[in-house]
């Protein structure tokens, strides 16, 4: 049964969203409200449509049917380049551009001065001395933090995170999760909302204010991790690490 996710802050509203795939639809009949505050985790098995949903919200893909609005405005009517700065995205693979860390940050903000760049480094727990280092020579965890800093440099209201820690070791994962909790906190001056894709039940429980469980392209359940831990569906319970 599809549930409605109650939100107090206006964010994304999806109605009857469908995205076709090669063999089968990637998303089917998705009705969902995704608030712009706190951390919403999209959980579910591999191939359940989590990443497809995230790409729609950054307008890297478009719907085949249905509508999406952002703060009440149809997504298709927004200025796509401005929208992508307002709703940033980090990917599973930390992809940095050739050049230094500073060069990478300036991809997002061309006139970024060195002091602001150093602040961004500190924000993601990187020493400012990293600014002059070649981005491609950093470890996976360091590169992912550069990608996050780069996205934060655009001044987003929401960051879409597509399994950003799945290729990282536990230590790097913890740093990134702490960062999300810090930036997402209501006490943070930035108060960035997160829509975070994860298939790690432990991470879902650590991060999520709200959880959306997807299954075969459909919304299987929405709620808190705690509430969904006793959901009748085994698949939903498994997604949030609930009782088997």
């Amino acid at each position: 049964m599809r549930q409605s996710l109650a939100v107090t802050e206006m964010g994304f509203e999806l109605r009857g969203v469908r995205v076709d795939g090669v063999d089968r639809p990637r998303l089917v009949d998705v009705d969902l409200d995704l608030g712009a505050r706190g951390i919403t985790v999209l959980a579910g098995a591999s191939g359940s449509g989590k990443s497809s949903l995230l790409r729609l919200l950054n307008r890297l893909d478009v719907v085949d049917a249905g509508t999406i609005t952002w703060c009440g405005e149809p997504l298709a009517d927004t200025d796509v380049l401005l929208h992508r700065r307002e709703v940033g995205m980090v990917f599973q693979q930390p992809t940095v551009a050739p050049g230094s860390v500073l060069d990478n940050l300036r991809l997002a903000a061309m006139d970024l001065d060195e002091e602001s760049a150093a602040d961004l480094c500190r924000l993601v727990s990187l020493d400012p001395s990293f600014l002059t280092r070649s981005a491609s020579e950093l470890s996976g965890g360091e590169r992912q933090r550069v990608c996050l800093a780069r996205t934060v440099a655009t001044g987003p209201a929401v960051i879409l995170a597509d399994e950003p820690t799945s290729s990282l070791d536990p230590e790097a994962t913890e740093i990134i999760e702490d960062l999300a909790l810090r930036l997402g906190s209501a006490s943070s001056p930035m108060e960035i909302g997160w829509i975070w894709v994860s298939h790690d039940p432990g991470q879902v429980r650590r991060l999520a204010d709200r959880v959306v469980v997807l299954s075969e392209g459909r919304v299987a359940a929405t709620g808190t991790a705690e509430g969904l831990a006793s959901d009748p569906s085994v698949e939903v319970r498994r997604a949030v690490g609930g009782e088997r």
Binding site: V80, R84, R85, T95
Partner: protein, 262 residues
Amino acid sequence: MNDLADIGLGGLAISGILIAVALALSLTRRLGLEKDLIVAAVRALAQLLLVGFALRIVVDDDDPLIFTWIWVVLMVIVASFTVRRRAPEVPGVVPLALVSFTAAAIVSLGVLFGLGVFEPTGRAIVPLAGMMVGNSMTATVVVARRIVAEARDHRDLIEARLALGLSSQDAFAPHLREALRTGLVPQIETTKTVGLIALPGAMTGLILAGVEPVEAVRVQVAVMYLVLGSVATTTAVIALGLTNGLFTSDHRLQVAARPPSP
């Protein structure tokens, strides 16, 4: 015609000895290339003889220039389909190549004939257009293939740039630059070393035909500038067309340029 350029049928037959040298190498070293060598030699002779007869009409100063321009159009069409054969993975390359070669012909032949560098006769238009199309074709294939490869191999980075709010032009700019450099650098290197390693074809032909070497050099240099200008024009036009085709108007990488989602 100058006697130097008339080698006669006997001379042509004697030059065939050089094919025998290549055949001997293939036989003694068991390269298995004898059949290919003979086919290549005979095909070259037959094709060029046919072209030669056709050119008699096209370059004859008494015939109207319309035949000459038809010949140029045919060259452009054949070259466009050759680009598709050499770069089969590039979508919609034929119309783009047609536009590129046409643009290059208008720019380069326009300068050479419009500004009076050469007289607009069939004898000048056909060989110059041939050199323009021939050299541009190679560079066009290189650039077209490289653009498609860049979009395929660096899609993560391109989408990461798009997700930061960069326009599709900005997101792809470093890759476009790389592709254009790949197409242009060999031509620039050839231009730099011309005469040091090998004497270029047009100049060699003119000298064999009895033209004063310095006069031949002047023609050759104009030809090399023509080639450089044409290569730059064709690669720029095809790059622009292909890049536009990679992205949608709302700055998304086209589905064909991405792998299917898991």
